[in-house]
Amino acid sequence: MADVTVGIVVFPGSNCDHDTEFAVASFPGVRPVMLWHNDHDLQGSDVIILPGGFSYGDYLRCGSIARFSPIMREVIEFARKGRPVLGICNGFQVLVESGLLEGALIRNTGKKFICRQSTIKVVNNGTIFTDGYRADEVLRIPVAHGEGNYIASPETIESLEEHGQIVFRYTDAEGRETVEANFNGSLGNIAGIVNREGNVLGLMPHPERASEKLLGSEDGRRLFESLFRHVTGA
């Protein structure tokens, strides 16, 4: 694999930035660089990752203040050029606040912060992030969030469905989209979506926390693998 530079944005309050750095650095030829929110330089990144955490203490709304961080201007421009951007958990919240992805993420229906293993189904394995998975494959990837309840207008949901933009849904271990599996109350069990162009993915589960055996699951690895393969054109 040729060299890939992965820019990981660090906001005040990010806390999965180093987990993400550790996970991506385990791929041969991949060099993570940490991008401070106050900078304007993407340092030649081929991929941008907005990591999980509590940027700006989740003040006002999750992701709402990070969305106006200086570096976000470059990140939005990067995304608009069709280059790959991945938002994990709080990163997903920043992406919906910035308008790069549609909808919003509100308080879990059970009110609680939920930290647990989740099972999600790959609904669309035709994206640059998911073509290393089988269609309808069920993955074990942990979640940790208080505001992961995905909502959008009925028209938006319809359009997401129509364009194959729903990438992951919460399911039980057999891949059934049950109410119990949908622990945060998301519309249509939605766990992750891409933009219409397919270069921006946001998801609530943490693939970087399911990237080695020791962590109990390696199901998140192929997401990074697919992405890096596309970036290098391999």
Binding site: L60, R61, S64, I65, F68, V96, E97, G103, A104, I106, R107, N108, T109, G110, K111, I151, A152, S153, G185
Partner: protein, 84 residues
Amino acid sequence: MVYKAKIRVTLRPSILDVQGKAAQHALANLGYSSVESVRIGKYMEVTIDGNSADEAGRICTEICQKLLSNPVMEDFTFELEPVN
């Protein structure tokens, strides 16, 4: 002229307010069975230095749309008053 904007941001009616629901249940436990619903929103006070009430109102609308509320899930209203 400095104006004070009293801004209210509320969840849109179609969105389930889990905090409000929890508060309503607590009130029911306290014996207030006549309380039919509770919706919890945000109240903000912003002072704006503008040439006129119109200009302050325009700025206030803009900041509510851009940052202080998220139109996907929230509505906002505000009142302006001059600060002496």
